[in-house]
Structures are given as structure tokens and as C-alpha cells.
Symmetry: C3
């Protein structure tokens, strides 16, 4: 390579030469001439500045694995299910969920086989825990790994069957109306400390208006209108706000899910990252079709 008078010119020359070399390399790599390898695509994306900056581990998974559609193998998913600390500190999923016999395994959920994962719980009410090929973010498996039980700090040992829990559940089941029962019995619970367990702040300590900060998720649990409006109404717009109450269906209502469902593995601290890289990989496997081979 000849020296050029201008350093800047040289930069471009050398950079271009580098590109040519690499591009020629592309032509011979892999079996198909036309198909880029994953590494080639990543290198090109780096050059084009399409790889976004961030330091966190989950971001790495996004950039290297998710964006480039690396096929996730069931073998790795099987490892995740049976390895301690796979999704943050805690025992492996398969300790409690390793058989479809509900007298041996919680919910009759068998996470030790691909078939069992796809089948879901066998204890009534039977339900799947994800749908192959679909985004599983709101489905049982992923939300149990990501969603902290509310109020923050409530451990699994605190009942989710208290009268106050039942009041909220029944109100949603009955249609989530702005009636006397709601005003007198339900709404006050959200602004009362210890309403859903000991040593707990009121829900409204964190969810008190549509402004974030200070209100997490722009969620306002102080009024009927705020509750029915839902979360992130400023960020997404009022029409696209995330509904947290589905009238008649407590199981689908985020308010109820968060009051009733413990995050897994049991005992994990709410301060552990919700977007664990392995949770992201598990989601990717599901989106890719939850293939068993």
C-alpha cells in the first residue's frame, strides 16, 4: 500500500482496502455464495455503525444473538432448566418441575423435557406456559421469571389468599366496575400500607400518577380512571396504554398477576435484573418456534 500525502485520505484508502479484503473473503465463506455468515453480518453491522452502544450483559445477547437470529438449541434450553443460578441466584427449575404428575411436581409441570415444556401444567386448570412462535413476554414461563411479586419484598411465604387479595380478584372477576364496593372496599387497599402483606408500602407509594418519575410505569392506582387507563399512557399515548385490568378476567389482569404470582426461582431478590441474558435466550427459543431438536 503506497503512502498518501493526506492522513485522512489514507484512512479511507486503508479502510476501503480492508473492506475489499473482507468482502472477497465473504465470497468464499460458507457453502452458499450468496449467504452471509453470522460473523460477516456482525462485522458489517459494526462497520455500518448499526451495533448500538451499551455495556450490560443482556445488551450483548441482543446484539450478538437475537438481532442475528442465532438458532437457539433445545439442548441449551434443557441446560438452563436444570442448572442452578441460570436465571439469577436460585435452585434449578427442574427441582420442583420435573414430572407431569402433580403429586410429585408443582402444577404437574415438567420442565425437564421439551414435550413437557410445550404441554405446560397438567394440574387443573391445565394451561400452556408459552406458545411456540409467539412472543412469550406475557405468558406464564417468562413472566414468572421476570415479574416481581407486588408489593416489592413480599416473599412466597406471604399468602396470596388473604381477604384483601380476594377482594381485588373478585372485583375484577365481577367486571371491574366503579361501584360502591370498589370505592369502599377495593380502591382504599391500593393506598394502604400492609394491605397485601406485612411490612409493605402501599401500592400508591410507587404508582401514584401518570408521571414517571416519580410514578413507576406512569401508573396511577389512586383513582378508578387511573387504574383503568393503565400503564405508560404518556410514553405510548392514551390509546395504546398498557391495560392493567381486564374486566372479568383477573388471571389476565396485570394488577392481579403482580399481586398473586411469585417470581421464580423462589427466593430471588427483586433487585436481580429482570432481563437476565438467559431469560432473553429462552424467549428467543420460544419465538423461533420452541424446536425440540
Amino acid at each position: 500500500m503506497p503512502l498518501l500525502s493526506s492522513t485522512k485520505q489514507q484512512f479511507f484508502q486503508i479502510a476501503k482496502a480492508g473492506c475489499i479484503v473482507v468482502t472477497l473473503g465473504f465470497a468464499f465463506a460458507g457453502n452458499a455464495l450468496a449467504q452471509r455468515t453470522i460473523a460477516e453480518q456482525f462485522i458489517q453491522d459494526m462497520k455500518d455503525g448499526k451495533v448500538s452502544e451499551a455495556g450490560a450483559e443482556d445488551h450483548v445477547v441482543q446484539e450478538l444473538i437475537i438481532k442475528r437470529s442465532i438458532p437457539i438449541t433445545y439442548k441449551y434450553i434443557n441446560n438452563l432448566m436444570s442448572t442452578p443460578n441460570a436465571f439469577g441466584p436460585g435452585v434449578a427449575c427442574t427441582v420442583c418441575h420435573n414430572s407431569n404428575d402433580p403429586s410429585k411436581s408443582y402444577r404437574g409441570l415438567d420442565l425437564s423435557t421439551c414435550k413437557g415444556m410445550i404441554e405446560g401444567t397438567t394440574e387443573k386448570p391445565k394451561h400452556t406456559i408459552f406458545t411456540p412462535g409467539k412472543d412469550p413476554k406475557r405468558d406464564h414461563l417468562i413472566r414468572r421469571l421476570r415479574n416481581n411479586r407486588m408489593p416489592l419484598g413480599m416473599g412466597f411465604e406471604n399468602s396470596t389468599f388473604t381477604p384483601n387479595h380476594m377482594l381485588v380478584k373478585q372485583w375484577i372477576a365481577d367486571g371491574a366496575k366503579n361501584d360502591d364496593n370498589f370505592k369502599k372496599n377495593v380502591l382504599p387497599l391500593f393506598s394502604t400500607a400492609n394491605a397485601f402483606g406485612p411490612n409493605a408500602p402501599a401500592c400508591t407509594a410507587c404508582h401514584m400518577s401518570n408521571q414517571e418519575p416519580p410514578s413507576f410505569h406512569e401508573l396511577n392506582l389512586t383513582t378508578y380512571e387511573g387504574i383503568m387507563l393503565g400503564a405508560d399512557s404518556v410514553a405510548k399515548g392514551v390509546d395504546k396504554a398498557t391495560k392493567v385490568i381486564i374486566p372479568g378476567k383477573p388471571e389476565l389482569s396485570f394488577v392481579w398477576q403482580h399481586l398473586a404470582e411469585d417470581r421464580m426461582p423462589p427466593g430471588i431478590s427483586p433487585s436481580e435484573a429482570r432481563d437476565h441474558p438467559n431469560t432473553t435466550i429462552l424467549s428467543a427459543w420460544i419465538k423461533q418456534g420452541a424446536k425440540c431438536d
Copy 2:
């Protein structure tokens, strides 16, 4: 559900209704009408307030797994043996213990198979490391995972064959008598810093009376009577105090075990929790019979 005049009454009504619904659910769940599923039993225990409060991870294992006798599979035990960091930071057990050939594997101990785990060490003196169906707390496998070598901070690189170690061992082997040898040669070792390794406090710095605090385990190593009385004599009563010396049998004497046995995995800090959830699960598998299928 009709609104009632009193909120309190309503609590009970709704709670009761909730219970009825769940109870009806019970009748149809599982194959056997009479047998409760694990999940059902746990829910009932939560309602009955039988689930005790605590935050730590091992407590979760107690409540969810041990109390409800979740059957532990050998497959998970095999994972624990072959996975790094399974019992706290450190390499996997099977790195050093993966064959019954003592020229390849420490003690000829094969932790990579169920048969090998049950057989124990093959190097003489051969011994099992637990008894299937029995509480393994004092047996080799579990005590090597739980018991810190004393004095705290002594790493595996500090010999357990020093003259002072031998003096204690021989004294126990000879019957642990309150004789001149004991008074002149053995007893003083417990109150001497660095007696069993460099930069070590005296044993009596932590075990100096029957009062806890300040004396750990209510153990008094300052007198013959204190040593022979044993640990936890206040908490359990003098008759049920835990003997720390078994005359004639140093290998069964806790004093000798703690002086001579390094905690595994090698290099683990004594500050790591002794009741690791996976140690609890390993113990449960043994108590359940150490089944290989």
C-alpha cells in the same frame, strides 16, 4: 357476589368463596381424588399460616421442597456434582472425584455416577460418604460441604499433619483422658494462637464458655470438663449436649474433624453460607433413599 353491609363480613364471605372454589378444584385435580397435589397442599398451608416467614434462599427450599417431600431426581444430583459453583464458588466436584481409581481421582471417589456416590471412597481406608435413607448431616459428603476447617481461615495448603494436630488426634485415640499429657500438652494448644496453622486465633478466642454469645455453639475449650461436656449444653440441656470428643475415635470426634477436614469445594471462603440450597437438596435426596433412577 352480593355486596354486604360490613366490609369485614365481606372479607370472610369472599375468602370463604375463594376457598370453596379452590376446594372444588382440588376434587378434580390429579388422578386420585383423595390425593392432594403438592401445589394444593402448599396453597392450603399458606392459607393456614403454616408457611413460616423468612427471606433467605435456603428457607425457600425448606418450605417448597423439603416440607412437601418433592422427590429429588438423581439427574439433578448428577448436575450438582458436575456443575461449577453448585455449592458456592468453586470448581465442580467431579473434576477431582470422577473415578474409582485412586491414581486418577482423589480417594478413588467417583461422584460422577450414582453407583460411585453410594460406594464412597475406594482408597483405603474405604468408607461410604452417606447412608441412603438416613440424615447425612454428620456423614462425609455433607459435612465436607458444610463444615469449615478450624481455625477459620486455614486453607487446604496448611498441613493437618503438624505435631500439634497429631497430639490432639493421639490424645483422643488414647481415650481422651484428663491426664498429665492432656494438661501439659493438649489443653494449652486450644488457647494458643497459631497452634494449628499460621495467623490463626486460638480456639478459645471463639469457644471459651457455655454462653453464646460470646462463645460459638456454647462450646468451652478452656477446660477438660468443658471439652467433654460438648456444644449447645444450654440450648439442648446438659444431657443432650452435642459431644465433640468420642474417646478412642478421633475420626468421629467433631474437634478432630474440624481441625483436619477442609471444606469443599477447595478454596471456598468460610463466609459462604453453610446451608446452601443445593446442599439442602442433596441431603434431601439422600434422606429419600438416594435413588438412582
Copy 3:
């Protein structure tokens, strides 16, 4: 054992007696009378004071596994490749490297099988990642686990194809001469902040002389002579200093490797220990011949 008048004499007597007992034990242990077991050798080394003192986890691996040539099984290596956090926080190697098809797996590198590990990358330029039986410290597999990308803090998302990177690479490829191009275009890059990425100190902030401290690895990147002299010229002597530039071969030059290669698993912090116990074990398996059975 009779009591002796002198405590010191007794020490030796008892210690000797202890040794005799143990030595007799040796004679019967194992299949071959002549061959010591690993445990026996370790005990003897402890007695002889040949076990060196240190507290760190990797030291334990050195003393217990490496020095005594414990045979590492492929089964454990396979676990390491497929287990999250095996070499520090991060996803498992096999998530991205699990097939020899470069359209599915980065570099067409299959770390999920022993054959794939030995074959190395299948994407052109094909290359092995270690040589069975040889010290792998400088080879791809181990150096990607140990070497931090420079400047410290540069994440994988920062291009290694910037014009400045290309200038260094091309200068080495062209023979690493002390010519005008070097003086005007290359040398200044080493003393310029942000030359190889955003928010980065200059190379010479850490490598500015042959004195350590303050200059890491006694490496001086401020002059042509310093660069060509290499690292650790004081500790090893000028003749044995570690060359960091191999004229004509950027891929073999440590300067280029450190500028261009990200440490694995991706996202791992440079502050994580480079000598992870499992990296040491992986190296030992390679040195032992990378046996697949």
C-alpha cells in the same frame, strides 16, 4: 503410646508414629504397590511443605489438580462449554458456537462437541483454536477467555475496523518499519485518547516505560524502540522480552490481538479474574492431549 518427659520429644515421636501409620496405609492402597494415589502424594507434599500458600481459588486448582496431573475428562469440558457463567458472568459458549455451519454459528465454530473443538473454525480463514498436547495460553480459545480487549472498557459494540485500527494492522502487515508513515500516522495513535474507541484513555496511559509500576507489563508504547523491545524486558531480560509485534503478521502480534479481539463471554467485565479456575482446567485438558473419551 507412653508419655515421654519432653514435650518436644513427644511431638516427634507422635508425628513419626502418625507418619508410619500413614505410610503403611500407602503400601496397601490402590492396585499397584509402587504407585502412590493422588491423595497420598498430596498429603506427603503437605507434610514436606511443598504445597505453597495462597488463598485464591485458582491457586487451589493449581495445587490440587494441575500439580498432581488429575486427568481432566471431556465430560467436564463439555459441561464448561454449555454452562452459563462457567468462565465468569455470561452466557454459555455453546449458545453462539454450536455448529460447524457458519450461517448458524459464529465462525462455524462448534464448541458443543469434542470433534468441533479440535477442528476449530470452519468459516474462512479456517483455523484451529488450540493444539492438543501444547500449552494453549497464546492460542485462540484460551486467549479469548483471558485477554481483555484494549483499551480497557471497549465493548464488542465498538468497531475494530476503524481507520485507526486499520492503520496499525496495515503497518504491522507492511513489516512494522520505523518509517515516516509510522512516525506520522501510527505512533501518535498510541498516545492519543479515544484513538481506538470512545471514552478511552491513550494506550500510553498504562504502557509508558519499562518500569512496572507504573507501566503495565513493563511495556513502553511511546517509542518505536519500546514497542519493538516488547513486554517484561526487565523481569525476563532484554533478550527474552515478550515480543508484541511480529512484523508482517498482525494476527500473531499481541498489540493487534489486544486491539481487535473481544474477551469472551461477550459482555464480561475486564475486572473479572483472567485466571478463572475453569480456564486453568480447560488449559490443563488441552495440555493433557484434549482427549475426547
